[in-house]
């Protein structure tokens, strides 16, 4: 080979062939420097540590987490010598490593999605109070799944639950979950709620839930979403874009269905309260009837009182007109003709007197 002269192009091709054979895929950890995006399509940066620097290159659609200078990242790449003589790592995937870089990547993406309004409260849909079908995306081998199904079975019955088994950490996890979200959204009869759950873990373990494409797939889901990842204190972009966030997988089970014991107790309490209301209504009706009767009696009494009062007045008036009363006051009643010589009768209160008319004069 050393004696065979090669063209420059052949040399580059041969080198790439050798590199591809020897290093089909390399994982390299380093710090990002001189990060830039060209023409809105291409991403380039330098990956460096204290000893060396290597150029990195990728298409922007492969970038799932925003990068910035100074972030420590793990890249999965293929080494390549370009026709222009530059040695590059052609990146397939890149993800932040270490708490600082993960946090930085999370903050950058959070800011980006927030600007797009993906966390806006007005986007949030409410979940059906009692769904009849649920789609679940999780690892069926996880304790989180076991907890979720245990709690949900304790709380409610008659549900149709379809579970999509996916990885929930590691490089393929985000894509698998995206595929599962799309699967449920593509069903002819979609579940009424889509639940995505994962138990607790380190920031690195939960990183798949901070993937931009997964966050967008959840935000675009036609089925209302409920995401419960990690513990109470863990916040991921997946739960921020979800319609409802659960603090834990157990909490997701508590949110998605009501507790049958509460519903049964409430149903009985409602029925009992209707009995009380019926009795109360009967009492009210009786009270109202009694009041109406009382009012009628009062009205009759008033009428009677008025009549007796009028009768009393009339009695007084009649008594005043009685001639006996006039005689008792000293007057006398005279009967007979007022002609001279005739006899007349004079009645006083106590006596009847007969007298003769001696004189009659005009007044």
């Amino acid at each position: 080979m050393e004696n065979v002269p090669l063209s420059v192009g052949d040399f580059v091709a041969l080198t790439n062939q050798t590199l591809d054979y020897a290093y089909p895929s390399v994982a390299v950890v380093g710090e990002v420097a001189e990060f830039k995006i060209s023409q809105g399509k291409w991403v380039s940066f330098k990956l460096k540590d204290n000893e060396a620097v290597v150029n990195c290159f990728m298409a922007i659609y492969q970038l799932r987490v925003p990068l910035a200078d100074g972030m420590k990242v793990l890249v999965i790449a293929g080494p390549k010598l370009s026709p222009k003589g530059y040695f590059n790592l052609n990146i397939r995937t890149v993800k932040p490593v270490g708490e600082g870089a993960i946090k930085k990547g999370f903050e950058l993406l959070k800011e980006k999605l927030e600007k797009e309004g993906l966390f806006a409260p007005e986007r949030k849909r409410s979940l059906p109070r009692i769904p009849s079908s649920i789609g679940v995306i999780t690892s069926t081998e996880s304790a989180a799944y076991a907890d979720f199904t245990k709690i949900i079975s304790e709380r409610w019955g008659g549900l149709s639950i379809e579970v999509a088994h996916t990885q929930v950490q590691g490089t393929p996890a985000a894509d698998q979950m995206i595929e599962a979200v799309r699967y449920f959204n593509g069903l002819e009869v979609m579940p009424e709620v889509l639940v995505i759950i994962r138990g607790g873990g380190s920031a690195e373990d939960l990183q798949s839930f901070n993937d931009e494409l997964l966050a967008r797939a959840i935000a675009e889901s036609r089925i209302p979403t409920l995401v419960g990842v990690g513990h109470e204190i863990d916040h991921t972009l997946a739960d921020m874009v979800a319609d409802v966030r659960a603090a834990t997988p157990t909490n997701a089970a508590e949110i998605v269905v009501p507790d049958r014991r509460e519903i049964i107790a409430r149903a009985h309490q409602q029925a009992t309260s209707l009995g009380y209301q019926t009795v109360q209504a009967i009492e009210q009706y009786s009270l109202r009837t009694r009041e109406q009767l009382d009012a009628a009696f009062r009205r009759i009494q008033e009428k009677l009182d008025g009549t007796f009062e009028r009768l009393g007045t009339l009695r007084v008036a009649v008594a005043q007109l009685n001639p006996e009363n006039v005689l008792r006051r000293g007057y006398a009643l005279v009967r007979g003709d007022a002609t001279i010589g005739s006899a007349i009768e004079i009645e006083t209160a106590n006596e009847l007197i007969t007298a003769e008319v001696r004189d009659v004069r005009k007044k």
Binding site: G157, I161, E162, H165, Q270, T278
Partner: protein
Amino acid sequence: MSEKNKTVQEKLTELSELVAWFQSAAFSLEEAFEKFKKAEALAEEIEKDLTSLKNDIKIVKKKFDGAI
């Protein structure tokens, strides 16, 4: 639909409607007792249904390998 074929959700809705009727202007003493008996029967049925119903959990057969 007969009472037996109704879902728990439908029975809960029916119970809520009965409760609402008692608060409404349509309330009449003549019908109240009958409706109360119906509510009691519904509560019993809801308890029976919820206690006996099991969830049907199925694992999706499709393999999710992340080909998106």
